[in-house]
Symmetry: C2
Subunit: 332 residues, 2 copies
């Protein structure tokens, strides 16, 4: 489907589910961006889930989002169980505003939901020539080090920085070896997942996506990945007043209440300490790119470059919609 | 050697090398703390190196540390090539002060040196009931993803949070599989390092610590570890006005100039957004600890607990000083 047509379609769907036109557009833009950057696990495959949650009244389509000022730099957002995209949109805009005004924006968000890709919000700050750290928690997927039961989410760590080049530096990686969206997509499209990335519910290695969804994903680097996931849960969950320690509901499987996901955005000016940040970052990237390369590597890429390539390529074409998802759309 | 005796000894050594008594004590405390928490790679094995650098005039024993106020929350420290411990001490104290006053302290440090363990500074903030993120860059040790040459440091990520329990949550992990200090200690004590953690200068896996020091350490989780190392280099190096992208000098091998290491401390109140943080964090830890455990695990530990156990144990005894290091002390 052509991008604009799909964008319109998604906006219509969300408006059918009682979102305002503005909010429906925010959701549509975020979902299509995920498709364009090649993160289809965070794209249209989730639309039905969002609509189902609105129908079951665990996402509020008409949220009264409250923005509480703590200082010129610090704000707290109560998202009133809005769809995550809308809460994150309000929050990143405030973080940008605070950073422009005071040098620094520090924003906690509670009562939110799954907001798609962290990188999408970091990029909004970077486009305004700001540096951003974005944290969010997520439903149980990873077992803490020493346990065989999932409790932490895949809890991504996201960092964006202006580069003074065409492509921004956007690092956005979950602390699980494979992300849950990818397993979900594999399950939906009946493909297997790589070995060594997940355990089934009995603690055995599995390549079966359905079994992996019922089991545990493995964290990167043992106790280090487990510790990073815990850090993100404290920053985005405990600190902000959101659900935490395994209480964030799975948006696909658990309709017993709102997710109450938490996010934390830290946004600041790159020129806070030095006047020549843009030269410095260009020099930094240049030095890395000049290094001798491993066999088969033609260019050392910084985080964000691959994503940008996929975006440019996908912008020229259409977005392929799997049959199952197209059928969903007809029903929504 | 008894702890107090060693403390006095180290203070004397640093005073011999022209540090003020206050600064000498700061260094001595930090180094002994590293020994007590079991991070001997950051402990007494480094004393000779610090003294050598002072002698060769690449560490300034009488620094004029300048603290520049950017706002009530944001400060920039020019450490004037002080020994890293002293710069970090000034900075974390200011970060704590700012956080107590405004909710948030955001401090960049330039012209500093190796400061020991990030967790030591995070813990100082946590003891004042604050949350802390500490970043520092380091001399080349890790190859960026796609390159076979070391450029990033082991660039630790450190996060500390109050727990309302006896032991604070202190996560402090480098993004390399093995830390450089451990390889250095293995080289000094003629032991081998685990397989799969480092390459020699020809890009081959090695367990020989000396060869590993001339080669590259492997980052955790491929592009993820590489991206995290890059993020830390931007946050602590590019942003603060310090050396970056491979220009931080190795303190042991390169006496051609000061290291100009950079650090970034972000410190804030845990009650910024919610009033009941202490109950929430206790609940968080309780839920994790209740999970079913893997075979051989009697207690799921949070980051900081192991360190605390070692600290408690080591506080009761003496600190063992390897012969080679004792000989160093006699000469210093």
């Amino acid at each position: 489907m052509k991008i604009n047509k799909l964008k319109k379609k998604l906006t219509e769907i969300f408006m059918n589910y009682k979102l305002s036109k503005t909010h429906a557009k925010i959701c549509s833009d975020a979902i299509i961006n995920a498709e364009l950057v090649g993160a289809s696990s965070h794209g249209i495959s989730r639309v039905k889930m969002y609509c189902d949650r609105i129908k079951k009244k665990v996402i509020n389509p008409k949220p009264k989002i409250r923005l509480k000022k703590i200082s010129n730099s610090i704000f707290h957002v109560d998202a009133d169980n809005s769809i995550g995209f809308v809460a994150a949109d309000v929050a990143i805009k405030q973080a940008i505003k605070s950073a422009k005004k005071t040098g620094l924006g520090f924003i906690g968000i509670k009562n939110s939901g799954h907001y798609g890709l962290s990188g999408y919000y970091a990029e909004q700050a970077v486009k305004k020539n700001l540096i951003a750290l974005c944290f969010t928690n997520a439903p149980p997927a990873l077992a803490p080090f020493g346990s065989k039961k999932a409790l932490f989410g895949t809890n991504p760590i996201c960092f964006g920085a202006p580069t003074s080049l065409k492509v921004p530096f956007i690092f956005d990686a979950s602390v699980s070896i494979i992300n849950r969206g990818k397993i979900r997509l594999a399950a939906k499209t009946k493909r297997s997942i790589p070995k060594g990335t997940a355990l089934d519910k009995n603690g055995q290695l599995t390549t079966d996506a359905l079994k992996a969804l019922k089991g545990v994903q493995l964290p990167i680097a043992g106790f280090r990945g487990s510790g990073l996931a815990w850090m993100v849960d404290i920053l985005s969950g405990v600190l902000t007043g959101s659900n935490h320690a395994g209480k964030v509901r799975d948006p696909f499987d658990d309709f017993s209440g709102p997710q109450n996901v938490g996010h934390l955005f830290i946004v600041f000016k790159p020129n806070l300490f030095v006047g020549n940040y843009s030269q410095r970052i260009k020099e930094n990237i240049k030095r890395v790119k000049k290094l001798p390369k491993t066999k088969g590597t033609s260019d050392i890429l910084y985080p964000g470059q691959n994503k940008y390539k996929r975006y440019k390529k996908n912008m020229k074409g259409k977005i392929k919609i799997p049959h199952a998802i197209l059928k969903d759309f007809e029903n929504l």
